[in-house]
């Protein structure tokens, strides 16, 4: 009958973590690596949905994506190397980018023994939510070649078309009319694993003997549903699970025994999204670029990285490119990183030049109205909550009043989607390919946005930023493969967005992963980052699985 309030829980959780850490004692069970399944927590919570439908990108089981069903190619977001062929072997665009010719590897088989041919690929692109309204024709010209034509250039959609379209067998899916309510509980895929058993607490996949590269060395993988990070950390410490991707404040406690190794990837930008454009319907002081610029120089990013992100986060770039991966696309070296230490004087200068004056309390305002901004983040996302608090403090030091508050997750998404907000902590998904195009296309163009009150449907430009120069440059970059034209276009985009700051970069968020190096070998390392070792990533996690070997 004891029902503590959730707020209390959050506070106590922090305290308890500290205590649990001080109590650490490792008694790893000494299972030998060879005969047991590799156990992974891919982030699913119990009850796990019995759903292996690759069209349910949000609710299907994790191993559906990559381990069971595969895309044509694997795009490694950590490297600038060309994509690795999975089902696909090679692809070429026509000069104008409207015709895509894909060659797939020969003699592949589905896990039920039927041959996998170009016909299946052609079927996949014409089925369900894969259908691209710009597609004009698709044809399997022989057993290994597919030709797709589009009404617009598709150079920049390569990672979407080739890297996250899950190839499904025609002989099964042609009989499924309603792809959205299908749960596909006996999946037939081309990937390295096939489903062995399912329960809502955990499910197991086993090596697919018909996999084109031969069955993977790790013969079984069990994906477990766990509801709290603490449980997963405990299981990792006691040697019950082998692979997780989660935040652990003090990783030394887990890795000290030498069984578990850790890696930290910094890629997705954490930003303050602002409702930036008055013409689109945004209201509030933040529609003035001077205010955003002042906040940008006023915040102390190094403190935020240390205090809110446990020192794990990276330095963000106002060019919204991932460095060093995207180095060649950044026009101006000064755009490589945002200022890391606060400069209240510079903030004052910007505001005063724009006609703001300090009131008697020391806060800036214009025409007798003090700037007062509202900044919110989802309750319980402690790194965001803490960062928001720090931002509010740093801005106050520079004479800008920002009120940080937390809201429930439901209350978080609705105002952002509708544009009914001033400032919010937000996470941008980094481009999956060594080219920041999708960042610009998805988050900065007018087309990807919508007027306040409406929801963006063709992108995620929740800032409502609308700038014809950026729109033009994105269009120009998307229509070509010529690097000089692209670089010029990116240079003008970067100049515009780093000045206008519709998204004020804060940090590059960290993604920690922990894996068992005692029982399994072949994990990615700093010197060989063939894939990100994050078990919740689709495809990348399957690539890692196929590289692993039992240690004994």
């Amino acid at each position: 009958m004891q029902r503590p309030r959730t707020r209390v829980i959050a506070m106590i959780a922090a305290g308890t973590t500290a205590l649990a850490l001080s109590l650490t004692a490792c008694s790893p069970s000494s299972d030998d690596g060879a005969d047991r399944p590799l156990r992974v927590w891919s982030g699913s919570m119990t009850p796990i949905n019995n759903d292996f439908n690759p069209f349910h990108v949000d609710t299907a089981t994790h191993l559906t994506f990559g381990a069971i069903y595969e895309p044509l190619f694997f795009f490694n977001q950590l490297s600038a190397d060309p994509p690795v062929g999975l089902v696909g072997d090679s692809y070429t665009y026509s000069d104008d980018g409207t015709e895509l010719t894909i060659t797939i590897k020969p003699d592949q088989k589905w896990s039920d023994g039927k041959p996998l041919t170009a016909k299946d690929v052609a079927f996949t692109f014409g089925y369900g939510s894969n259908v691209d309204p710009d597609m004009t024709s698709i044809e399997a010209t022989d057993d290994t070649t597919v030709v797709i034509t589009y009404s617009t250039p598709k150079f920049t959609a390569a990672s979407l078309i080739l890297g996250s379209t899950w190839i499904v067998p025609e002989h099964i899916w042609s009989g499924i009319d309603d792809f959205m309510s299908e749960t596909n509980q006996q999946p037939v895929g081309s990937g390295p694993y096939k489903l062995k058993s399912f329960t809502d607490a955990a499910y197991t996949v086993e090596a697919n003997p018909l996999f084109r590269d031969g069955a993977p060395a790790v013969t079984e993988v069990q994906d477990i549903g766990i509801d709290s990070n603490q449980s997963s950390e405990d299981l990792l410490k006691t040697g019950k699970i082998d692979w997780v991707g989660q935040f652990i404040a003090n990783p030394d406690n887990v890795t000290s025994s030498g069984r578990i190794a850790t890696m930290n990837q910094q890629q997705d930008p954490t930003v303050i999204v602002t409702c930036a454009d008055e013409a689109m319907g945004c209201v509030g002081p933040q529609v003035d670029p001077a205010v955003r610029q002042a906040i940008n120089v006023a915040i102390d990013r190094s403190t935020i990285r240390e205090k809110a992100f446990a020192g794990l986060a990276g330095e963000s770039s106002p060019a919204f490119a991932l460095l060093p991966r995207d180095e060649k696309w950044v026009s101006d070296a000064s755009l490589a990183t945002s200022p890391q230490s606060p400069d209240a004087a510079a903030a004052s200068e910007i505001l005063e030049a724009a006609g703001y004056t300090k009131d008697s309390d020391g806060f800036y305002g214009k025409d007798g109205k003090t700037i007062e901004l509202d900044l919110f983040s989802p309750d319980g996302w402690t790194d965001y909550n803490d960062a928001a608090k720090l931002i509010s403090e740093h801005a106050a030091d520079a004479g800008i009043r920002i009120n940080a508050r937390t809201v429930s997750e439901a209350e978080y998404w609705t105002p952002i989607a509708n544009g009914d907000f001033q400032l919010a902590m937000y996470g941008i998904t980094q481009s999956l390919v060594p080219d920041p195009f999708s960042n610009y296309d998805q988050y900065f163009t007018t087309l990807a946005s919508a007027k306040v009150g409406e929801e963006p449907t063709k992108g995620q430009n929740y800032s409502r930023y609308s700038n014809p120069i950026v729109d033009e440059a994105v269009k120009a970059a998307g229509a070509t493969q010529d690097e000089t034209i692209k670089k010029d276009a990116y240079a003008s985009i970067q100049a515009e967005i780093s000045r206008d700051l519709p998204y004020i970069p804060v940090v590059l968020n960290a993604s920690q992963s922990f894996f068992n190096v005692a029982d399994f070998t072949g994990w990615p390392s700093e010197s060989d980052l063939y894939a990100a070792p994050l078990p919740y990533l689709s495809t990348a996690s399957a690539i890692v699985l196929t590289h692993l070997k039992p240690a004994k």
Partner: protein, 334 residues
């Protein structure tokens, strides 16, 4: 007979009100489930535009009610309810809410049910004993157990896990059974039942530890009061054995108020213990509820609330009938 008719009609009205509230409450929450799910899909899709077909399917399942009047929604809600159709979950799309609840209910009922009965029995026996021996060192049990009850549950559970499971390795860390030993799921074997029991010990212990104090305190106070009643003095004067007086005379009467509380506590068993299930990844109802609220999953939320409401009402009803049977005063003034 009149008493029962009155009670039953009262419960029917309460039931109608509860089910109607269950319809209204989720709709008072901010946000639109179809919009939330479409937003999630869009982010998960990595920029691929959602096809018209997808949007239509989602809105027809989750947001069909948008645009229709509240009254029509209300009628449709009753229509579905009477057919036993609780709808489709949006957070676990396309799983049926009734399936999710059916899978979670047994775990919760057994774990929380057994823990509640244990806690009640322990509290009652210990309370009677402490009340009987009032003024001795046993009195210290009262502040001791209420102190345990005042420890935030989350903290208690995490400390017990850190010590007993992680450090000493005595008990399992999470789950309703050993998912490593039984990758194919629940089966009818002794090994499985043993595993399930082993996994229930720690969650059940935390529930008992954090709730036994209340029962103990109530029982002890009633016991002290009852022992000053004339019939206890009479019984002592008659020369009855102390153990007979303790159990048959004082204890029985002192337990009556606790029994009423127990009826309600049993009703709440179905609600599960949200925090317990969260901390131990235990496959129960409470966790479904919290996930539904967080994910704005109206259908799941309503389904879970409905089941909880029905059981609490049913438990109350049964307790009231029993009361009317035991104590005639309740019947005549009811």
């Amino acid at each position: 007979m009149n008493f029962y008719v009155r009670r039953i009609s009262f419960y029917l009205v309460t039931l109608w009100a509860a089910i109607s509230l269950n319809f209204l409450l989720p709709r008072l929450l901010p946000g639109d489930p179809a919009a939330v799910m479409l937003g999630k899909l869009r982010r998960a899709n990595g920029g691929r535009p959602l096809s018209e077909e997808t949007i239509k399917t989602i809105t027809s399942i989750l947001g069909a009610e948008k645009g229709t009047s509240l009254w029509d929604q209300y009628l449709a809600y009753w229509g579905r309810l009477l057919q036993g159709d609780l709808g489709v979950s949006s957070t676990r799309y396309p799983a049926e809410v009734s399936d999710l609840i059916a899978a979670a209910l047994p775990w919760t009922v057994i774990l929380v049910g057994v823990a509640t009965v244990l806690s009640f029995a322990l509290g009652l026996i210990a309370g009677a004993w402490v009340g009987w021996r009032r003024g001795t060192w046993l009195d210290h049990l009262v502040p001791a157990t209420t102190f345990l009850q005042s420890i935030p549950y989350f903290w208690l559970a995490l400390v017990l896990v850190a010590v007993l499971s992680v450090q000493l390795g005595l008990l399992p860390i999470f789950g309703g059974y050993d998912v490593f030993e039984f990758p194919a799921g629940p089966e009818w074997s002794w090994a499985f039942v043993a595993s399930a029991i082993e996994h229930a010990i720690l969650p059940a212990a935390t529930i008992v530890i954090s709730s036994v104090g209340g029962w103990l305190l109530g029982m002890r106070n009633m016991m002290v009061q009852t022992m000053s009643e004339d019939y206890v003095v009479t019984a002592e004067a008659k020369g009855l054995t102390p153990s007979r007086i303790r159990t048959r005379y004082a204890g029985r009467n002192a337990a009556i108020p606790s029994l009423a509380g127990f009826g309600i506590a049993l009703g709440f068993v179905v609600a599960g213990s949200i925090v317990t299930e969260q901390v131990f990844s235990y496959p129960g109802i409470g966790k479904l509820m919290i996930q539904a609220v967080q994910g704005l999953d109206y259908a799941l939320m309503q389904g879970v609330f409905l089941v909880i409401t029905l059981t609490v009402l049913a438990a109350n009803f049964v307790m009231e009938l029993i009361y009317g049977f035991i104590d005639p005063r309740v019947r005549t003034r009811g």
